[in-house]
Symmetry: C2
Subunit: 395 residues, 2 copies
Amino acid sequence: MISEKMKPLVNNNSAIRAMFEEGNQLKAIYGADKVYDFSLGNPNVPAPAEVKQAIIDILNEEESTMVHGYMSNAGFEDVRETIAQSLNRRFQTNFSAHNLIMTVGAASGLNVALKTILNPGEEVITFAPYFVEYGAYVSNYDGKLVVISPNTETFQPNLTEFETKITAKTRAVIINTPHNPTGVIYSEETLRKLAAILEKKQKEFGSVIFLISDEPYRELAYDGAVVPYVTKYYKNTIVGYSYSKSLSLPGERIGYLIIPDELEDSENVINAAAIATRVSGAVNAPSLMQRVIMRCVDAQTDVSYYERNRNALYQGMTDAGFTCIKPQGAFYLFVKSPVENEKEFCEAAKKYNILMVPGSSFACPGYVRLAYCVSYETIINSLPYFKKLGADYGL
Amino acid sequence: MISEKMKPLVNNNSAIRAMFEEGNQLKAIYGADKVYDFSLGNPNVPAPAEVKQAIIDILNEEESTMVHGYMSNAGFEDVRETIAQSLNRRFQTNFSAHNLIMTVGAASGLNVALKTILNPGEEVITFAPYFVEYGAYVSNYDGKLVVISPNTETFQPNLTEFETKITAKTRAVIINTPHNPTGVIYSEETLRKLAAILEKKQKEFGSVIFLISDEPYRELAYDGAVVPYVTKYYKNTIVGYSYSKSLSLPGERIGYLIIPDELEDSENVINAAAIATRVSGAVNAPSLMQRVIMRCVDAQTDVSYYERNRNALYQGMTDAGFTCIKPQGAFYLFVKSPVENEKEFCEAAKKYNILMVPGSSFACPGYVRLAYCVSYETIINSLPYFKKLGADYGL
């Protein structure tokens, strides 16, 4: 009874669900504190206190029919203007409310962007390792996802291969920085080179290629690392943002798209994106949370919490003999599996109650992802077991 | 730069936007209280007090990481179970959490249902007049919307024509009760006949035809009218519900799908619908609002407010000589235009600062829709102008 398009998604989902259920089983048997579950990217830092206060103030100060009511499909104008001004202050950009579409999180934002610009059969390029849902999003609009193989030295994008894979059918490129699952931040140099390739190929094919920058981890950068603002490097950039991680609101589904004036045919693209938000069924981003963002536009999650976790896990894993690059941002550590088949490695880790996600799930076999948005204690307590696990593989 | 599929939607949208902007212009010139804007279905009754209290209680009593966090794509299990039990109490159904998928409003619910079951080229039937967005939703999955012409005597569905339009390609039928734009409630007799036709045609074609019941207006029924629960009449029914109108939360995007155990292949359909919710980009229904529904499952909007409006507007319009059936539910009055071209009639009404939506927007020309989710004063103050408008047409 399931549509043909949903069938592979249903089949593929079973494996993820099996892992999730296995984790719950382990916790039931051994107790949650004896299971080292690094599988999920669900922030464990609570939303900043400003969020709670903002909600209460809104309920006391603003009209119910406005707070919970319909607004323009693009979102409340004052909310969008406030975010635009905040971005302009922080990144010396030049946005106004007009350039923002409030979305049901970044996932919905990417879907709105793709629905707006993508025709069946057109190609969307992304760089392995990548968030596996990109494939489903592109397939929603009958596009074809083209995957560039990983540069496992630096996990910066493999631009040499990228250049060869751009065709007349390439409609968009999706990047993700700071990056899930490697924690890499795309450097200014990377973005300049990437933009130069896109400019060249646009000329060569007489086409427009959109660069979609998926940025839910923008605020999670460590050691003072700068996350360059992508619209400054390439004019046909659409930014997808989410407050899921920056304000620990993943369940609330609140984010936005930036569509700059410099983008080709921007007036029409902005207009169509608002309509795409509506007809996709979202209609608009959740209204109360939009009002919350207006009051919390400069609030921040406790980045130092994740940074302490990163330091402890990176140190512990390298001490145990594992190979990994030190994440500059996000909350993931991407570790080289000591054996080629990393699924076997993930299985072996379960005997120490350690749960990790195989790199195959990110089109990058031979690696595993550890999500360190867990308690510090979980990390500290897991390290002796990682040491044993490493020893089992002769590390 | 817009995808081919979005282009007609963008073009079509301009007319609606023009009307919206014209309304704002009139209000700027004459003052909001001198403009009788019956064009929008945005509830003007505030959310019940229980909603505000529930939000504050949740923020004080529940964990931030849970309230604002990810949960199963289908929604929080305790929320779904609470809704199921409430439905069982009210409608003698037999649902459990398992049968519910929390959705980003009813619009998203319909999209999830269609994404789950519809293949390109398959047909979805609906009855004119109908909510125009159904066309966009069906086209999202490359289906074909087949429209049954209206029965303008009763505005119950035209079942004779319906039976002739069902083919081997018919995958689903969308009904909406209480009905936008007529206020009709589909009677038990209608549902029995409709179900009998579907059963017969399923046998004839060896197919499964899903009945999707779009029910955002379920709680808005007047004079003690009963809104039959559709799953009891036809086993392959999927219900789409929203709290937009029942709790005046249209901007919050919170609703659910019911997929009963009796539905063909229900286990797979339920599973696929949860995945469809995720990959469509919604991921899950907004989390805080889910928790609110759990605490407000038996809260109600002030139906008497809308009923008073209905009575005043229906009486006033019939007194002014217009022809319309008395709405049993929802908050719309569907009025016969005194001239065949109802767009001309809508234009003429603007000279009295009256804004109405042409029936053509619901595939039912010759009629106009008045949304009476406005203040009582707006209705009372508009009636002398409707009288003049009627007189202009010799009523």
